[in-house]
């Protein structure tokens, strides 16, 4: 019992680390490559989770779902819905400074949370949606873990391919020197929007997997903290711009976060109620320490690969063409 309990804990730890790894890869495309500040990760995560939950859960009398549809359909819709949402947000904010994207994404995440909580007919409100099936017969925890790892590896390979592609190079060039890319005749807003949408669909997929893993979801799981903040700390710790770093950070920080839960179990009883606050405070401090001491993360971005051989001149630098006016 002891051993199997430990094994079970280990598998669930790795499964969630894997789901966070997928989220972290999605954020890496947006922030690491393109410099987009999305702090509404929880919103895309929630859209993905609820889309598949409503479609695949067993029928219920208390809300409009579930429709008992096959899980691949649910996951597909999860991806599509989060993508649609990101197109709308992106369309509004892509031409503006990234601060506006930050504000818009946190706003949409907050509104989604309000909708989840209050639109009982659609989401069953705070009672949450139960009886979400496991996909493709991955019923045992170990099988599900293997499934998550497969998805994680596929997403990783796709992100690596994107990073090395001309498309990925343009994204990083935009991050480094927007005006230079604009001068080269590229449509910056389109590239940004594409990166934002792809990253958001990856987050939606992670949300869908999360719903299937737990079999039950409720609005509590989508507080800004759990999804958004942790994913940010993961990516920054692992190394923004580095896909391996994104996964490494996700695993490490998830271990730290879960470990802190065990550790706070030893706090005196009167502090137990406050354990959550202690853990958040610790991670918040950890983030500041990383930003101050190792902002590039554990695995820094590989700046060599994919860089154009001719460094684009920085804005404002006079052209070196001696031509009379």
């Amino acid at each position: 019992m002891e051993l199997s309990g430990l094994l079970f804990y280990g598998i669930s730890l790795l499964t969630l680390a894997g789901i966070y790894g997928i989220l972290s890869l999605g954020l890496n495309l947006q922030w690491g490559f393109t410099g987009q500040f999305n702090i509404g990760i929880a919103g895309f995560f929630a859209i993905g989770a609820y889309s598949t939950a409503i479609l695949t859960a067993a029928p219920s009398n208390s809300f409009v779902g579930g429709f008992d549809l096959p899980t691949p359909v649910g996951l597909l819709v999860a991806v599509i819905m989060s993508g649609l949402l990101s197109v709308v947000i992106g369309w509004v904010t892509m031409r503006l400074r990234t601060d506006y994207l930050a504000i818009a994404t946190i706003g949409i995440a907050e509104i989604i949370r309000l909708l989840l909580k209050n639109e009982d007919w659609l989401t069953n409100g705070v009672r949450g949606i139960p009886a979400i099936p496991k996909p493709l017969g991955l019923d045992s925890p170990l099988a599900f873990l293997i499934g998550i790892i497969v998805v994680l590896v596929v997403v990783y390979l796709l992100m690596e391919a994107a990073r090395k592609s001309p498309w990925g190079r343009v994204l990083r060039a935009i991050r480094e020197n927007e005006n230079g890319v604009m001068a080269a005749g590229k449509n910056i807003q389109r590239f940004r929007l594409e990166a934002f949408v792809v990253g958001s669909t990856v987050m939606g997929l992670a949300g869908g997997l999360y719903a299937h893993y737990f079999g039950f979801i409720s609005p509590e799981a989508f507080e800004p903290l759990f999804a958004t903040f942790l994913v940010w700390v993961m990516l920054i710790a692992g190394g923004s711009g580095n896909n391996k770093g994104a996964i490494l950070g996700a695993v490490l920080i998830w271990f730290v976060w879960s470990g802190s839960e065990l550790a706070t179990g030893y706090l005196p009883a009167e502090w137990q109620a406050q354990a959550g606050a202690v853990r958040v405070l610790l991670v918040a401090i950890l983030l500041q320490v990383i930003l101050l001491t190792r902002p590039q993360g554990l695995l820094p971005e590989d700046m060599g690969a994919g860089r154009t051989s001719d460094p684009t001149p920085k804005e404002g630098r006079p052209r070196k063409v001696p031509a009379g006016e």
Partner: protein, 285 residues
């Protein structure tokens, strides 16, 4: 009609609170070029600092300036220990840092003061009545206090050397340096001013309803909406932005559930971003 007027009263009260927060966000954006995501939690900090002083037996209005001082000092310390070092890299790193700071502050406040709702003063205030419209004494205090503070900020920005230096730096940071304006001192004063205003906003919010560790975070979105509506980086626009958002949020409860008040603020903000992202008023973007 009565409903409408009553909600208008609530809207002006909420607008006053939002204005005080938005002026700070706008000032910080103007000087440091980043959206300060911990501003809501600085408001919470201010409110709970005042609560600590009130618990010593002092009235709220005496506690307010003391809490302002405490909060301003903490804001400056946060800036000097963390933001200042990150400023040398990229402003966008400050966004992440301030987001983490928001959650850190909130957790710290929850650890110290507990996770439950608290109030400055127990008991029910006798409201004033004009026909069917009800106004609590606290409402008058909030609106009056906000007017006084806005006037003080106006005097500071338009008549003192430091206030003008702030506007100058917000207008054109390179030219400010070329004039010999000391950037770090201006930054420090910006935090002091923004911290004091956030304290007032937090205390007023606590007077209007209750104190809770998440109170500031919950109002951050409307504060940002007010800032953007008024034109980010333009403190005077924040007044109009705060009032429009506050009144719109309260009036919206006539047609939809009150829980969606932040969504109304957000919708107005998005409309603004599409229509004219530089804000209601003309000026440089």
């Amino acid at each position: 009609m009565i409903d409408f007027l009553q909600l208008l009263v609530y809207g002006v009260v909420l607008g006053s609170i939002l204005t005080l927060g938005a002026i700070g966000v706008s000032l910080i954006f103007g000087i440091l070029r980043f959206a300060h995501f911990a501003h809501g939690d600085i408001m919470t900090l201010g409110a709970f600092s005042a609560l600590a002083v009130v618990s010593l037996g002092l009235p709220v209005l005496v506690a307010l300036p003391i809490a302002m001082a405490i909060t301003a000092v903490i804001a400056v310390v946060i800036d000097q220990t963390i933001y200042r070092r990150l400023r040398r890299t990229a402003p966008v790193i400050l966004l992440i840092s301030s987001f983490g700071m928001a959650l850190g502050l909130r957790s710290l406040i929850q650890l110290i003061f507990g996770p439950n709702n608290q109030v400055f003063a127990k008991g029910i205030q006798m409201p004033y009545r004009w026909g069917d419209i009800v106004v609590k004494p606290d409402h008058l205090l909030i609106v009056g206090g906000a007017i006084v503070l806005v006037l003080v900020v106006h005097m500071f920005l338009s008549h003192t050397k430091m206030g003008k230096a702030m506007r100058a730096m917000s207008d054109n940071v390179d030219l400010a340096a070329a004039c010999g304006i000391p950037a770090e001192r201006v930054v420090m004063w910006t935090w002091i001013l923004a911290g004091c205003l956030a304290t007032a906003a937090g205390v007023f919010l606590g007077m209007d309803a209750q104190l809770h560790p998440v109170m500031g975070w919950n109002i951050l979105l409307p504060v940002f909406a007010a800032t953007i509506l008024g034109g980010i980086g333009k403190p005077y626009g924040a007044i109009a932005g705060g009032m429009v958002i506050g009144i719109a949020m309260e009036l919206s409860t006539m047609v939809m559930p009150p829980v969606y008040k932040p969504a109304v603020a957000f919708a107005i903000m998005v409309a603004m971003l599409i229509w004219r992202p530089q804000g209601i008023f003309k000026g440089q973007a």
